[in-house]
Amino acid sequence: MVADAGAYSGPAHPAPARGRVRLGGVFFGLIGGPAAWVTQLIVNYGLASYSCFPRIRPSPYGLPGWHGIWGGLLAINLVAVAVTVAAAWISFRDWHTTRGEHPGHSPHALDAGEGRTRFLALVGIMTALGFVAAIVFDTVALLAVPQCPG
């Protein structure tokens, strides 16, 4: 058995630019959008369903005092969009500082995924943009469907 400890020469590190970004920012970029989306979905669902189906029977015209929640629901969605855009921006910043991590332009980074730091930044951008779309899809409902069955 050949013992040449110390003579190890592995390939280059997969993320040479990892020192240039903050790990917390990377994670926020990745989970900010999904977290905002899931929060607005569940909170809006709870409010919308409670306001016209409290307990055992529906309240066709809505609970007294709950008529104004439409604006609240919309506001929640806007906050969610803002958080997601912030996540996109942080990811974009990380992408900007690390895009030279590996040879190859950005389509190549999408296709092959080399350069771990810039890969995560790119994934963060896509995630956030995707979840902006998801939140918009939920907001469409708010614009058309009445709060209660009537």
Binding site: Y8, P14, Y45, F53, Q147
Partner: protein, 647 residues
Amino acid sequence: MADPELERRPEFATATVAYAHDLERLWETSPGIAGWLSTVDHKEIGIRYLVTAFAFLCAGGIEALLMRLQLAGPDRHVLGPHAYDQAFSMHGISMIFLYAFPVLSGFSNYLWPLVLGSRDMAFPRLNALSYWIYVAAGLFMYAGLAIGQAPNDGWYNYVPYANREYNPGMNEDFYSLGMIFLGISTTVGSINFIVTLARTRAPGMSVNRLPILVWGTLTASVANVLAVPSVSLAFFLLWMDRQFGTHFFDVPQGGQPLLWQHLFWMYAHPWVYALVLPAMGIVSDGLPTFCRRPLVGYAPVALATVATMILGFGVWVHHMFATGIPNLALAFFGGASIVIAVPSAVAVFAWTATIWLGRPVITTAFLFFASMIVLFVIGGVSGFMTGSVPVDWQLTETYFVVAHIHYVLIGINVFPVVGGIYYWFPKFTGRMLDEKLGKWNFWTMFIGFNVAFLPMHLTGLWGMPRRIYTYSPDMGWTTLNAITTVGAFIFAIGVAMLLINVVISLRVGRIAGANPWDAPTLEWSVPSPPPPYNFAVIPHVASRHPLWEDRLGESEVTSLVTRGLLLDHGRETIGTSPLDGDPDVILKMPGDSYMPLLLSVGLTMGFVGLLVHLWWLAVAGAAVALIAGVVWLWPRGTLGQRRVRHV
């Protein structure tokens, strides 16, 4: 000088014959029944998972064929209503819980350490435990069928019908306890996958170099960790209601039937994605091999996998559109259910582009993978229709949904799985499956499946409700049902062809060699079948296609496959950091052990005791499990737990 038992610099070299021989001695399972019962080799366990899952597939398939005979025409008497109800319930349970997920666990168990460049899963014994519990839980639920008291409320088991008042037999007790039992297996298996991924990859395998299969199973595992408690809790509460008179779902006392639906679907919707994402991963990894081209859009496809699962957690209410929830609240989930098509579209276009831009080599595995794209799209668009709230009010609980779920589960699970078997059988056994029989196998399954289930959409649109044991001739469903029954039998013949091919090829199949498909990933760098230690030297990965690097010519560095880390001071593998795969520990892996088996025997005793109210048996089972657990965890000198005292 530091104690070499506690820290050392791993040697780096090429494997010699003597060294490989040492590894063989360290890692091999002892022969005979003793080794068979105590092995923790992930490859052995993976194969067992696959074989057991196929056994349950066949059982569920026989139930399906009986149902199809009953429904082949109006007013038939093949099965009575009681038998039919148990048949469709056991069919669902078998296919969803005992086949579809475990079969993917089988692939992942076998393949993960090989594609990740490791020597075993993070917790080999937990792996064995997970398998034994799976078998025990499956047999536990089938024991109900054997005594004619199988679960009879469908796989989603709505209360209050599942309550004791309406369902006084033991049927639902088998289901409740069986699902809690099975949940243990799923949970420990999932944790095992997650930690394996986080900690035991080959050096250099950063997260951007993971095969998509790994992304699929990882995502499914995280989802299971978060979702399985929901269903275990639901079944536990149901069992408490049934046995101890609690009031969770008991309406006269204020119990909430919709709470069951929430808990069940919060689990079951993510679960459905857990049944398909690893299978989509199989296609994402298999298709490029045969298209002679890396997968188009690795990053978007990896992201789509994860995003599907995240969105999958937010759509559980779309199973509850008809429960009276106000329309606005439903509309939010309608939006989520429609937007979930976006990541699916990413995957579909990535696969299609891979085919267009590659040079497809038409093998049986390729046919299964490529046909899956079409079946996936059909299952996807019918799912998209059910996401539209008002349309779903009509579609739900009709055969349209039955068609949808079969396109999803057969199209996106069975087809990739069978393709995966054609693809990896050479790796598993060292022999190729017969390609000629394979083509027959594919076309029979493909035609049979579509004959059975494509017309079923129309059966649904023409109003046939699901779970009815018979129908009258004036409903207009006779012809369609007859066609579906014919298709189901053709499909069954196709599955039988696969089994025949496996049996024949095991004996006379062409010898495969290490890499018969000229595939790019690490598992093809080791002999077929792989030695018990997988890798003589731990490889060092420099790209996502270690075996194609020379020809793709885009990486200025190359992965090291034949030269690598020598780890032979006992059963060892390398531990690496989660993001970048930097080596940070030399892991000592446990040897074979009877404790996983003993622990699952104890748990089985416990659950049987709870089922039949033999409390002493339950306590004895718990005691056996406890003893097995303590022995299992007892620190061992050879593991480095105890300091070796140099006197």
